[in-house]
């Protein structure tokens, strides 16, 4: 895994892509397999040279600042956009290539669109009419538990309720991959917790891969076991959370030039205060140098380190 540096806007991709994480190939096709994927709007690359394999069976967090290309990547994965360069396969098929492919992917778009003029019950009917795999019991059960009045028009629902309705529609079609674009960004903390709870229940009950974007790291920390960090249209970090946490260390000790570190230790960020150095390094081997105090990192440290590195590159 080499993290590509952030390209300035408007420049075509030149640096090698971020390599796929070291996952063993499985019999089931990966949830998402992107090769050199790029999308350009005019002269601006919203997503550049993205090579990424997301194995099935994870809850994947897609993190990045606003405008990093998260929505573009998700729209490419759902076939709402056509790539400018490269290819993307979802569950082994081209996005939105047919009814079967559509049935395998559930998508809750940004701002969780629902039909303002249709009631909650009519949305469930819509789901039942348009999806052969529709699980009506599941859908009604969720709506009941949420306490939503089925006769209420969607226009009268709160933001949180609309998001729950949209999530219910996406879950009850029984997809193999559920894609959520900033589903909780506009929810209040209570609705946010309820939403994530419902999502976690769904992933526990069904064989479901979830790909969820957010610019709030705290939300992902609790729910995701796989992390992708996207900055300025490029993937700078991707991997299982456990692996990422195990391979990143925070080293503190006497001031030292990062260039003198062993070759297997890749410095992500370095800060020097007085006679002390503080380095975040990535390595698959244990750190034995007694000069260092070695500390573990949490997801937030990790994401922020990669974001600040990309910003200063």
């Amino acid at each position: 895994m080499t993290a590509g540096s952030a390209a300035p806007e408007g420049r075509p991709p030149g640096t090698p892509p971020a390599a796929a994480p070291g996952e063993l190939p499985r019999r089931t096709p990966p949830a998402l397999d992107a090769r050199g994927l790029g999308k350009r709007y005019g002269r601006r690359w919203a997503l550049a040279d993205c090579t990424l394999t997301i194995p099935a069976g994870h809850v994947v967090g897609l993190v990045g600042p606003n405008g990093a290309g998260k929505t573009t990547l998700l729209n490419l994965a759902t076939g709402m956009l056509e790539p400018t360069t490269g290819t993307v396969e979802v569950l082994g098929g081209a996005p939105a290539s047919g009814a079967d492919q559509l049935a395998k992917v559930g998508y809750v778009a940004q701002d969780t669109p629902v039909y303002a003029g249709l009631t909650v019950a009519e949305h469930l009917r819509l789901g039942a009419e348009l999806n052969p795999g529709w699980d009506d019991e599941l859908a009604r059960g969720r709506i009941e538990r949420l306490g939503l009045d089925q006769k209420l028009k969607a226009a009268k629902l709160s933001g949180g309720q609309r998001a729950q309705l949209a999530l219910t529609l996406a879950i009850a079609k029984r997809p193999e991959l559920l894609i959520l674009d900033e589903p909780i960004a506009r929810l209040d903390p209570l609705a946010r917790r309820e939403f994530l709870q419902l999502l976690m229940e769904a992933t526990a009950e069904q064989e479901l891969t979830v790909l969820m974007s957010s610019h709030l790291i705290a939300d992902l920390e609790r729910t995701c076991d796989y992390l992708i960090v996207l900055v300025a249209g490029r993937v700078v970090l991707a991997g299982q959370v456990d692996d990422l946490l195990a391979s990143h260390h925070l080293l503190t000790g006497p001031r030292r030039d990062p260039a003198t570190l062993p070759a297997d230790q890749q410095v992500i960020t370095a800060s020097h205060v007085g006679r002390q150095s503080s380095l975040l390094v990535r390595t698959d081997k244990p750190v034995h140098d007694p000069a260092w105090t070695v500390a573990n990192v949490d997801i937030e440290d990790l994401v922020l380190a990669y974001l600040s590195r990309a910003a200063s590159a």
Binding site: N75, A96, A99, Y107, A109, L130, G133, L169, A170, K173
Partner: protein, 345 residues
Amino acid sequence: MIWLTWRQFRAQAITAAAALAVLAIVLLVTGIGLAHAYNDAGLPGCHGGGCAGAASLFIDEAKANIYHLVFYAGVFLVYAAPALIGVFWGAPLITREIEAGTFRLAWNQSVTRRRWLAVKLGLIGLAAIATSGLLSLMVGWWSSPIYAAAQQAAGSNSLSISRLDPPMFGAQGIVPMGYAAFAFALGVTLGALIRRTVPAMAATLAVFAGVQLAWADVIRQHLIAPVRSLTPLNVSAINELSITSNQTMTVVAAAKVKSTAWVLSNQTLTSAGKPFTGPPTNACISGTTQQCNAWLASKHLQQLVSYQPASRFWEFQWYETAIFLAVGLALAALCSWLIRSKRIA
């Protein structure tokens, strides 16, 4: 998909049905009166010269009555319906999904975009055709005594209502169904291109009106080669004569065709077959009409009339309906391509 289409189209369908019902009542009430007046004039089954006077009288009476207003209102509505269908059913079909972001919901169910569009275009397109067809049928029934009387009054020359004349032709028979299909597909396609509701509605109205006008004025007459009749000019039938200061002169005689024909051009030619432009002689500048006519007769002028006989009415109707339906289908295919090529998101 059929359910969703109906659910989203329900309000518009009910509005259209209510409008048709109100119109049906108005047409029925006034139409029965008109049919009675036609019967009372002794016109049903009447042929020959004796009827012309009675038919003219009937039409004059209708003109002085509320029927005059209803007749033109009916013509207007048959023309307006396809435009309204294109603007209010066609244009918003895709744009309102884009503006509300709901296309991301609709197109991520287990139904391909192509099928989503096919069902919507098919069902609402049929509703559009049915609405316009029904309207044309109702208005056609109402105005049938007037067209019949116009035919019977032919020859008296007191009026001419040709069923083929541009303002009337498009408001009768089956062509309004072709217009409706075309206008609807046009609205949807412009919506897919423009992606915003109000501009798409305005563009639909502008393009549809432009096509209608250009079609009626320029294109329709070429669908079937017109009949050309070349006859010696009857100088006693001249009803237009002008002499200009630069020594040119034009004369036009009444066309010797049935008053129900659609006359496209009426020219006076010299004996050599060139358009007659003078120069005028003193007999026509300062002489009497008889002297001028005698001079014109001596020139052996000819009259070339190009026209479409009224008997071609249904031929024109079928051609035109088929063309508009075909263009509508082509637009539907274009629209399907537009949303499949992922330009929308």
